[in-house]
Amino acid sequence: METELHVRVQEEDVAIDDLLRRARRSGVGGIVLFDGIVRDDDCEALELEAYEAAAVAELERVARDAGERHRLAFVAVVHRTGRLAVGENILVIVAAAGHRAEAFAACREILEAIKAGVPIWKKEYGPGGDRWVRGEHWPAEGA
């Protein structure tokens, strides 16, 4: 089964309903969607910056790999850039498979791969000023 891919890096919001509509297709029994949003913890807004050409290429590779490994019918990865307010979508991943186990595994693996290696950065704007977020894969101090 060829996996249909929808991969974007964009400023506009994500049309989640459209993605789910496209995911409902022959052979699909389970769809898992991840929606990452701007949390109000310690910031009022985020600014997202991407090395766009490299980010798109890497997202496509990640989506294609997961699609093959988990025999997905459809996978969507949409990562936003620009300034985003609290509560806005940052990243939406949709994985559509025959059964739930593959859809869950694929969605999670795509998310972890994005956090590990896709060239996108976040700057937090808060009451105490602004700061670049150190991703989870920033090397330990002194490393």
């Binding site: 090395y51 980010a55 940052i90 990243l91 150190r134």
Partner: protein, 91 residues
């Protein structure tokens, strides 16, 4: 020979996002990055006072990652795009 050097995130703020440089024949990737970024004593500089790339700095040449030792030995070619950035934080 023209090479494009791009910086992202905190490095973009420090060095500017997009540079066109005309390196001498035989210049390496690291030479070209140093020619734009210079050296810095503070931790947020891409290059340390000894002229070496900070450990955490990531380099790409035409979309492909380059290890730091490769950057010291790989010579640039006309039309190359180099990218210099900190560890990613998307998602």
């Amino acid at each position: 020979m023209t090479v494009r050097v791009r910086f992202f995130a905190q490095f973009r703020e420090r060095y500017g996002g997009d540079h066109r440089v005309e390196p001498a024949p035989g210049a390496t990737v690291a030479d070209v990055v140093r020619s734009v970024a210079g050296t810095g004593a503070d931790e947020d500089s891409a290059i340390g006072p000894d002229g070496a790339l900070r450990d955490y700095v990531i380099l790409m040449r035409n979309g492909t990652r380059l290890e730091h030792d490769e950057a010291e030995t790989t010579t640039v070619e006309d039309g190359d795009e180099l990218a210099v950035f900190p560890p990613v934080a998307g998602g």
